[in-house]
Symmetry: C2
Subunit: 217 residues, 2 copies
Amino acid sequence: MDLKKKVSLAVIRRLPRYFRYLSDLLRLGITRISSKELSARMGITASQIRQDLNCFGGFGQQGYGYNVESLYNEIGNILGFNNKYQTIIIGAGHMGQALANYGNFEKRGFSLIGIFDVDQNLVGKKIKDIEIMHLDSLEVFVMNNNVHIAILTVPYEHTPTVADKLAQLGVRALWNFSPMDLKLTYDVIIENVHLSDSLMVLGYKLAEDMKSRANIK
Amino acid sequence: MDLKKKVSLAVIRRLPRYFRYLSDLLRLGITRISSKELSARMGITASQIRQDLNCFGGFGQQGYGYNVESLYNEIGNILGFNNKYQTIIIGAGHMGQALANYGNFEKRGFSLIGIFDVDQNLVGKKIKDIEIMHLDSLEVFVMNNNVHIAILTVPYEHTPTVADKLAQLGVRALWNFSPMDLKLTYDVIIENVHLSDSLMVLGYKLAEDMKSRANIK
């Protein structure tokens, strides 16, 4: 039986967070941890932790807790860090360059094999030894290389066109940084990242904080 | 009665998304929309939409739906886009530069007034007309300027120290891009952004997709 099939996306979305905390514990030399201790660190209830981790079979042992390293490895496996995904970036502006230089991605099994832009001032320049190509070469490049994931950091108005093209070329997964919830008619896996959403929430909390401080005074 | 006090953070977190969709509708010249139509666009149930928006009082009218522009403005008000927040960026690397150049933030009421780094090759250079300052000048700068928000794009190991210092200096809100769930003993508002979490989820979905395709063949 394939256990993973039954796991909800909500649980999957929490796994990277477990993974980060476990990696911190490893760094600190902590070899085992109870769901209660992990709960205190993460600010999640212990029962939520047990429930989440039980989805993947019995990692924990009664009275012993979790073996940090094996739980770390298991979650890494589930998240597919042993997979080798070839990625390209469309849009070599500041955000594209920041993502190209984000070392964590390579460590997690995502290797960057191409960067594309339409700006002639950028085409030909190198980021991390990869020469920026013109978007016109995208089609040939994708046909000749096994591109698993395309990272989109293109302007808002061009995002749907570029995404459509990638989907047509058979790229299965898009990581979209345009401030748009990308939805395509093609059957493609999409993760939208909305940086400003998080900043807006911060702004809201700050406004509430300022109000409550003004009331106290 | 202050209605906003009662609104849960879960609802607040959904508001930026409503705001984005409403801004799209405005762009398309659509002046009013029913919760049902909005539901179809956003992939949220109509009852969830009504429930969320009712938290802020009666924006919608029976049989008419929502006036797009006034709902857009109301949500903007709630999220505090009329506030003027002064922000600084700590860490002028690729991500810091990408965020400094992210035009959307200015539009939402966040103005960048300072950028800091410890790298002597960066100090003195300009990003968007703002000269990068050495981190040593942070204290004096914060004392002389009203800094509402600090954006942290510093290496993992330095994040807690820098965050602590900012909190001590009285900066009330931190937007943290280090792959760490920042928690401080100080009472400070923190939003953590974990870019790789989203990429990991994409990787997981892609692995599941590849498995199911392999089974079909």
